[in-house]
């Protein structure tokens, strides 16, 4: 085969073994205060409930894909996990070896984050060398910092002479590699990847996705891979969770979720995702807008757009039910 199109080795099936939980998210809720509206701000206090009773586990070495559209709360969940916000309700617990990362920064050290916009998440006035070294300095890591930075740059495929560059002197793909190196600096057990490739060109996306797969193989760390791109998530993840307006509506092993989606929203999402294999569009897409998370619909959040909705869906919140072992769906209907 031509050298240009490198086929990588085939990895074991995505299901993976039974894993012990690295991170447990237990009935987490998150509300943001939007302040008051109206004349002199005397109107009613408005709140967005970005996360509503979310429970989830991420296993050691697991890649969990988290899929949702605008307002689903997927980024809020990622930020809670790395400690950028504190949850309004519920708990986020790391299971860790007692020797590793103790102290007040425990949560921040256990998980790191890679952001969507590579250039926006790097300080434009710093050089690559300093960007990658910063977490090592802040957390007083006892590494030889220069050597560790060199090692990290090799790991993410950046040539050594990039150490002196600034973010503006790099392409989007290169800047994202710097963001990944920074996230790897403290050897996190979990990396939250918040839409890490959606700002990149298609041919560069494949390069960065492969880098994520390499890193996971080398370090055995876990990923929470947040994306709206179903084919990408399907390719990379062991399990996939689908969110809609602050709630997880379905979660299952990747092949199970894509071959037997149980929730009507998951089905609509899968049908809506453009695929190369799709010839002319041949389906009728799910109707309606995504409602505002400020005032979400009662009962099942998806009911106004759901073709199967019943009276029960309009009034009663569906609890997550196991449709097969390890496959949960929050829907009243028997699919």
């Amino acid at each position: 085969m031509a050298e240009q199109i490198r086929s990588e080795q085939i990895l074991p099936e995505q299901k993976g073994p039974e894993r012990t939980a690295l991170l447990t998210i237990d009935k987490v809720g998150m509300s943001f205060d939007l302040g008051r509206r109206g004349f002199l701000g005397l109107g009613p206090r408005r709140r967005v409930r970005a996360l509503d009773d979310v429970s989830l586990e991420i296993g050691h070495g697991e890649i969990l894909g988290l899929v949702g559209e605008s307002g689903s709360g997927k980024s809020t969940l990622g930020r809670l996990i790395v400690g950028l916000y504190r949850p309004s309700e519920g708990q986020i617990r790391f299971a860790r070896q007692a020797t590793r990362h103790e102290g007040p920064h425990a949560v921040d050290l256990g998980a790191q984050i890679v952001f969507q916009n590579p250039s926006g998440s790097l300080n434009p006035r710093q050089r690559v060398r300093d960007i990658i070294a910063e977490p090592l300095i802040v957390h007083k890591a006892d590494h030889d910092i220069a050597a560790r930075v060199g090692e990290l740059m090799r790991q993410v495929g950046l040539p050594p002479d990039f150490a002196e560059r600034r973010p503006s002197e790099m392409s989007g793909g290169q800047a994202q590699r710097v963001g990944i190196a920074r996230a790897l600096a403290l050897e996190p057990e979990l990396i939250v990847c918040d839409e890490p490739i959606s700002a990149l060109d298609v041919s560069i996306q494949a390069q960065v996705l492969n880098l994520f797969a390499d890193i996971q193989e080398q370090t055995g760390c876990s990923y929470l891979f947040i994306s709206h791109d179903l084919p990408v998530v399907e390719r990379l993840s062991h399990r996939v969770a689908i969110m809609y307006l602050g709630r997880i509506v379905e979660i299952a092993a990747t092949s199970e979720l894509f071959s037997r989606p149980a929730h009507p929203y998951t089905r609509a999402l899968i049908a809506s995702a453009p695929r190369l294999e799709a010839k002319k569009l041949s389906f009728r897409p799910v109707e309606g807008e995504i409602p505002s998370p400020i005032d979400p619909p009662r009962g099942c959040h998806f009911h106004p757009r759901c073709p199967l909705a019943t009276d029960r869906c309009r009034s009663e919140r569906p609890e997550a039910r196991e449709v097969s072992p390890g496959h949960l769906s929050a829907c009243h209907l028997d699919m």
Partner: protein, 339 residues
């Protein structure tokens, strides 16, 4: 769907021949669009696919006559039903734009007037081009809003752009483009910022509208999967040039250019077991300054002859590729693209 194989410029609504657009930069002249030729027929959707810097958007802006200094169209013809848009002057273009050829932009907020209601700007757009009354214009605006799937259009006409969601705003932009029943609509990444379920709704409406109205559409996107599901034909651009053009089946199933094959391979597919994706090495870099094949530095099939600019020849009826090996490695390229 009827198969379209051969394309003579005569039956095309819009025929672009050797279009060249250059920008003066501090590093010299950048040829952003380099001798691009394409045709689109009535009722046909042509997808232009390319990554950043491919020149796909500049091609769209050039056709609309929207290139400003330091850029200029320096060569070629833009024939709209037999009339060269480069010869009709700025006033002539004003008559044509928004009337016979319309554009939908990626960010609807930047193309809608923030301080006018949807209805007011639609009525203006209709009255600017046609001798009809205000009442007639309002009626037509309401009808076309309903056609693009906007619920309660009467009410929406009283809304300001900021009161609508992103998906609704983009529907309004499409409605405005359709308002004067143009022969051609050029859509530049119109669904890129939208959620997938909303994008699917818009793609669905666009296909329906094209079938109903016969408007020709040029759909510019970076997403091959969208083109596969939406368009009749595709043109793939790289560093200012079209490297491959053909029907969707030609380009997606039988790619003839190594760049197209590489792009297809880097899109995650269902029917491939690898967790890692094949990737095209390197990046576009300053490919615009390469006189020969601009993809050569990233190409696995590169030969000494690639130092000369490859001809854009037919590999099959209606299927062209700008590559000296096009057609000879068809089997390997198809395997590379689809595993």
């Amino acid at each position: 769907m009827q198969q379209k194989t051969s394309h003579s410029p005569e039956d095309a609504v819009l025929s672009v021949e050797d279009l060249t657009t250059e920008f003066a930069t501090s590093h010299g002249t950048l040829r952003a669009v380099d001798a691009v030729s394409l045709q689109v027929r009535r009722g046909e959707i042509l997808g232009i696919v390319g990554e950043s810097g491919s020149g796909k958007s500049v091609t769209g802006y050039s056709i609309m006559g929207l290139i400003d200094r330091p850029g200029a169209i320096t060569g070629g013809r833009i024939m709209l039903n037999g009339v060269d848009l480069r010869q009709i002057g700025e006033e002539g273009l004003r008559q044509v734009r928004g009337h016979r050829i319309a554009m939908v932009f990626q960010d609807p907020m930047s193309s809608l007037h923030p301080m006018l209601t949807i209805g007011a700007q639609m009525v203006d757009a209709a009255l600017a081009h046609r001798p009809i009354g205000r009442r007639q214009a309002r009626m037509e605006a309401r009808d076309v809003l309903a056609r693009v799937g906007i619920p309660s259009p009467e009410e929406r006409m009283r809304s300001y752009p900021h009161e609508l969601s992103g998906g609704m705003r983009q529907r309004v932009s499409i409605a405005i483009a359709l308002l004067n029943r143009p022969e051609v609509i050029i859509a530049d990444e119109p669904t890129t910022g939208l959620d997938v379920t909303i994008q699917a709704q818009i793609l669905y409406e666009v296909q329906k509208l094209v079938a109903e109205t016969g408007t020709a559409v040029i759909w510019i996107t970076h997403d091959l999967s969208i083109v596969a599901g939406l368009a009749d034909r595709a043109a793939v651009m790289y560093a200012g040039r079209i490297v491959e053009q053909g029907t969707i089946a030609d380009v997606i199933e039988r790619p003839a250019h190594p760049y197209t094959a590489g792009l297809l391979a880097s899109v995650p597919h269902r029917n491939r077991d690898m967790r890692k994706l094949p990737q095209i090495p390197g990046s576009i870099g300053n490919a615009h300054s390469i006189p020969g094949c601009r993809f050569a530095p990233r190409c696995g099939f590169v030969k000494p002859a690639c130092e000369a600019r490859p001809a854009f020849d037919e590999v099959a009826p209606g299927h062209r590729a700008a590559c000296i090996v096009a057609g000879r490695f068809a089997q390997q390229l198809a395997e590379a693209a689809h595993g």
